[in-house]
Symmetry: C2
Subunit: 310 residues, 2 copies
DNA sequence: GTGGTTATACTCATGGTGAGTATAAGGAGA
DNA sequence: TCTCCTTATACTCACCATGAGTATAACCAC
């Protein structure tokens, strides 16, 4: 057998839940926190998906329902320190999992994703950190580009990603935003990867290695999917009020929605059906409990929850 | 160092071009044909993307522009024969690349994708193979399910995937369709993977290992992206007529579009701008040549070509 | 110049969407 | 019991995008 350079493959999981209107991901305690991950076992795991399920169970005690492969990360400089210490090149196959309820997990904590990405939560309006910190820093970074073409390109990317100037905010582009901030040296990981002291940037919780990038990938994928696949229901109990549904969508998308229109669209699309039961703990008029209407899958090829710009 | 079970990682590429209204992918000659692929070199390739570019250049002579990671395939039973012969577990990171023109490639041929997936081309109406072969075979497979729940599930999946009954055809679900046919034993690879003689199914060109599944993944991803990202232009020359643009979109999506409405939407969205030059070889009135209007990226977050159902 | 072909302009009905107003049905406290 | 506050739900209206089709323009071959 020819000598082969060593490649390690591990599986990393972004396990998401929404509690009290806050999306959270499961993180392993530590500073900085890291995603649950485990080495892929080519003997025990007959498929990557099953491998992902296995070590999520082992590490967090959670039995996940919805699982989806996100992306495979394999840049050489990711986790430079870890690789120098351990063995060869590290490839991480990242997974997104959605779980219904917050459950206790030994050695793991639920980390609100908007601590990782404070610029992503627009439910109370555009976060002040964008005009006050991010926009000026990105524009300075763009202005410092070596040549005119690069200057134009950086400026345009900043405008598109963060909705500056005439560009509109597109909640889906979460990964693009993180990568731009990384490239501009505005997140802690940029400096950590280079063994430098931390630079300036918007206050935000970093993660180990490139785990925050993986989390951003998950957010982007999930936000993109909300609009054309009924994935939200993986995060809700079997019966829920329309407002509860809306709050979960808003939490994930990071935007506020018009209540009456949300309701109208969800009902008219046949996404949900009334159960005849009511939730009386609303603080006002009782709200009917609805459940996901499975038949919608047959009726409409794209069945998602209404979001602006679609 | 602890003994590690061997994991091989290779990169497989779906390299797409559209010529004469036919989407084609680059395949390495042989029977069955295979995708261009190469072992990932953890020493030479600093990133997976660069690795993909490198061996595409090495194997096909093409310098690709647009490249996007698709998915990582790692099931144990994929390429069972190859793994038994060679080494350990094989992981393939698949890439999609779009190239502008058909160029000669030594040892490689352009393989029309609708030879791989005859059921995907609805430009001349729904292919006869669906009602005549696929639908009956899938329904028979569903009826043969071990229990009632599974029977219902299979029937529903078949209806949704192939637009049977009340369900509408959704051109994006190409991977779902291939996977369903595989599961039902209606593609040659199903039997090849089990060392059985080929069974019945729609006439179609198989590929080596799970390469046809990878190709289906590429089709699904590309069709999905058409509607919200200006990716088509990677496949067109710098200047093109609106009909040429429409034909490429139709070729990829596998559906026919209304000419006047396509034109209206593309122009009103600001996706293209007239060049003032004209193509006189249309066979009728000369058509203005248009080019992609780059500013659209700043103006609209989702800028894609119009497709039905969006 | 006639007919064939493709390009391009315009019309019209329909349905979805954003935004807002109005009404219903609970609870808490005077 | 009445009032007020809160949330749920129904309805209206203007606007725009879309599907479908008709009409006209501009080239070629004969």
């Amino acid at each position: 057998m020819p000598a082969r350079p060593a490649i390690d493959v591990d599986l990393a999981g972004v396990i998401l839940a929404v509690t009290n209107d806050q999306p959270r991901l499961l993180a392993r305690a530590g500073e900085p926190p890291r995603l649950p991950s485990g080495r892929f076992d080519p003997v025990a795991d007959s498929t990557l998906d099953r491998g992902a399920r296995r070590w999520v169970r082992d590490q967090t005690g959670l039995e996940v329902g919805y699982v989806e492969q996100l992306y495979t990360f394999g840049d050489r400089d990711r986790g430079a320190a870890a690789q120098a210490a351990g063995g060869g090149r590290l490839l991480s196959v990242a997974y997104l999992a959605l779980v219904r309820e917050e459950q206790p997990a030994p050695g793991a904590t639920w980390l609100p994703i908007y601590q990782l990405f404070p610029w992503e939560d627009h439910r109370l309006g555009r976060p002040a950190v964008i005009p006050e910190v991010i926009a000026p820093a990105l524009l300075a970074w763009a202005a410092a580009a070596p040549d005119e073409a690069e200057r134009v390109d950086r400026t345009e990317r900043a405008q598109v990603a963060f909705g500056l100037g005439q560009a509109a905010w597109d909640e889906v582009r979460a990964l693009e935003r993180y990568e731009l901030l990384y490239e501009a040296g505005l997140v802690a990981e940029y400096h950590a990867d280079r063994g430098e002291p931390a630079g300036a940037g918007p206050a935000s919780q970093p993660m180990a290695l490139d785990h925050r990038r993986i989390a951003a990938t998950a957010v982007q994928r999930l936000r993109g999917k909300l609009g054309y696949r009924p994935v939200v229901f993986e995060l809700l109990p079997q019966a829920f009020t329309l407002l509860a549904l809306q709050r979960v969508v808003e939490a994930l998308a990071g935007v506020r929605l018009h209540k009456q229109n949300f309701r109208r669209t969800v009902e008219r699309a046949g996404l949900v059906e009334g159960t005849g039961r009511y939730d009386t703990a609303t603080g006002g008029r009782p709200a009917e409990l609805f459940s996901f209407r499975h038949e919608v899958l047959r009726e409409r090829p794209r069945s998602g929850v209404p979001l602006p710009g679609r």
